[in-house]
């Protein structure tokens, strides 16, 4: 115990000398720290896109909601069934009801061309035809500007994210659906989520506009409870009149973002690793210079009787400190520059735009700082070994 305390005292003492002399090497130290800050800022910023997309999807999900698609379909775009099927689905057991009937919304999902505000380029924007139950099925739906569209008329309401991300989606303006102008009468919010990047209208008005006949692509239902899902699913899969796929809403949206988040995460990680390698060399250079500048000090300490391990640890600690400073700086930079930054990107599952906010979360910041620490340790390891192996007599003579 005493020996351990003694060793610890040596580590603290030697480490504190190194850190106190940092101002004398501030140029090289700052270069290493800023290099690492850049790596972490880029890494956290890119990964915050995937994080933001995931969070948007999470907000789209209610544990009490289920989706019904045509059997074999993975997305609404590839799904389709008749009104008769939609009616059978709506009558299945397990669906919650209100005074107007079951909370089941047969919906049509199409895309229209609009201009993306940020890039002035064409973008596919989801236009969803809904039934009356849709407002009850989506838990947090509310009109934040204007009013709801009137059933049976060429009117639309736009999600709050869509109104920000795409040009011309202000209340009072109109959009071209087919060859007809449709009036924008309101802006809605669903408390975040994918729906806020969509435009909604009456499904029965949308069907003829897109020559879809009396067909739908999905039915979104609100269940009595989370546990009602099995009952609901079993009844439909066992019903010979319909050929449908029943999935939880959470499962559907997880599938929707899988490709997108995998690509973004993969790309972000690749960029981070490549930049990280550069930062490791920067840290190596700085720490070798540090060992060189501290040769006299290290040799003196070793001559006085300090053992090699405290010297080794002190160099590693110094490198780690620079990395943590850089990591914190980079994380802060990413947070202040990008957290909450709104954007839209292509959802490769539906080939339509998904509006989302960059999300620099605590876990992402920790991930960035941990990556910085790894860079610091790798950058400090070899210089630390060099310092520990410094031949004391030679080092003292070379002063």
């Amino acid at each position: 115990m005493v020996a351990a305390m003694n060793w610890l005292a040596q580590v603290i003492a030697v480490t504190s000398f190194g850190i106190r002399t940092l101002p004398e090497r501030r140029g090289a130290a700052a270069a290493a720290a800023f290099g690492i800050a850049g790596v972490v800022a880029v890494m956290v910023s890119v990964l915050s896109i995937a994080h933001g997309v995931n969070q948007t999807m999470d907000k789209s999900v209610s544990s009490r909601n289920a989706m019904v698609l045509r059997s074999g379909s993975d997305t609404e775009m590839t799904s389709g069934f008749s009104n008769d099927t939609a009616k059978i689905v709506a009558e299945a057991p397990g669906i919650a009801r209100n005074e107007f009937g079951p909370l089941a919304s047969p919906e049509l999902f199409v895309v229209i061309d609009l201009i993306k505000s940020s890039s002035n380029s064409d973008a596919n924007v989801p236009l969803r035809g809904i039934a009356q139950a849709a407002y009850e099925v989506r838990e947090n739906f509310q009109i934040v500007e204007g009013r709801k569209f009137e059933w049976g008329r060429n009117e639309v309401i736009v999600g709050s994210a869509a109104s920000r991300e795409f040009s011309g989606l202000d209340v009072g303006k109109s959009i071209l659906v087919g060859s007809e102008p449709w009036n924008i009468v309101g802006v809605f919010s669903t408390g975040g989520g994918v729906a806020e990047g969509e435009i909604w209208t009456d499904a029965s008005v949308l069907q003829p506009a897109f020559r879809r006949g009396n067909f739908y692509q999905s039915v979104i239902v609100r269940l009595n409870s989370e546990d009602s899902f099995t009952e609901f699913k079993d009844s439909l899969t066992a019903d010979p009149r319909v050929n449908v796929k029943v999935i939880r809403e959470s499962e559907y949206y997880a599938g929707q973002t899988a490709i997108l988040t995998a690509v973004i995460t993969g790309l972000g990680s690749l960029i981070a690793v490549i930049m990280g390698l550069g930062a490791v060399f920067g840290a190596l250079n700085t720490m070798y210079a540090t060992v060189s500048a501290r040769t006299r000090e290290i040799a003196t300490l070793r001559a006085l009787g300090f053992k090699t391990s405290p010297v080794l640890i002190s160099i590693l600690m110094e490198s780690l400190l620079l990395a943590l400073i850089g990591g914190t700086l980079g994380g802060a930079l990413a947070y202040f520059a990008f957290d909450g930054f709104e954007a839209a990107t292509l959802n490769w599952s539906s080939f339509s735009q998904i509006a989302f906010s960059f999300r620099v979360s605590g876990s992402l910041l920790i991930q960035g700082i941990a990556f910085a620490a790894l860079i610091g340790i790798l950058g400090g390891l070899f210089p630390a070994i060099r310092a520990a192996r410094l031949p004391v007599a030679t080092a003292l003579r070379e002063l």
């Binding site: 005493v2 003694n6 005292a9 040596q10 003492a13 000398f17 106190r20 002399t21 006299r296 000090e297 003196t300 300490l301 070793r302 001559a303 006085l304 009787g305 300090f306 053992k307 090699t308 004391v392 007599a393 003292l396 003579r397 002063l399």
Partner: protein
Amino acid sequence: MADANGNLVEVTGVDKVFHRGSEDIHVLGGLCLKIPEGEFLALMGPSGSGKSTLLNLLAGLDRPTEGSVTISGERIDQLSERRLAGWRARHVGLVFQFYNLMPTLNAARNVELPLLLTHLSRTERKKHVEVALSVVGLNHRHGHYPRQLSGGEQQRVGIARAIVTDPTLLLCDEPTGDLDRKSSDEILDLLQALNQDQGKTIIMVTHDNDAAKRASRIVHMNKGKLTTDAAA
């Protein structure tokens, strides 16, 4: 602790060869030297004569190629690197030509450094530091940093650091080499007092004849061998 003949240091048949590429450089050859406890020995010789190498061997900072180095009855040439570090901390006080103080530590913290290698508590360490600084007459400068001290004062801090653990042996590598005459005299007075009043065994490498005259014995070296060995 000295041996039966009163010798604290015994160097027997020591060779030291450095390798530079394919070339072997013989720095010490068959060197034998005995130093009694309580002696103040000055080691003189031209550059490259091997005196600093010998001092490094006595300090356990280097190992002989051949021969043995025994100090206080312990063969230090046979100790592992780790044990040698511990041995240095307990038995050797080192005084360097350029003081080698830590620039970021004040005088007291510099003197305290070797005590971090002991089991002393913070309070005990503080007391030891006060005593060491008072021995070198610098108690009033304990809070000053090296850059705030003159060369002579820095060397006195260096000496305080060397004696704070009450080592068996004080090894000084040209302790006045970087000082003016007045400061040199003060340092030599201090070393003499440590030797005469406290019985410290001191081995001092020097080029300076006046400094060497303060020692009780002067050993001259040339080309890795002892040439003359006489009382000062």
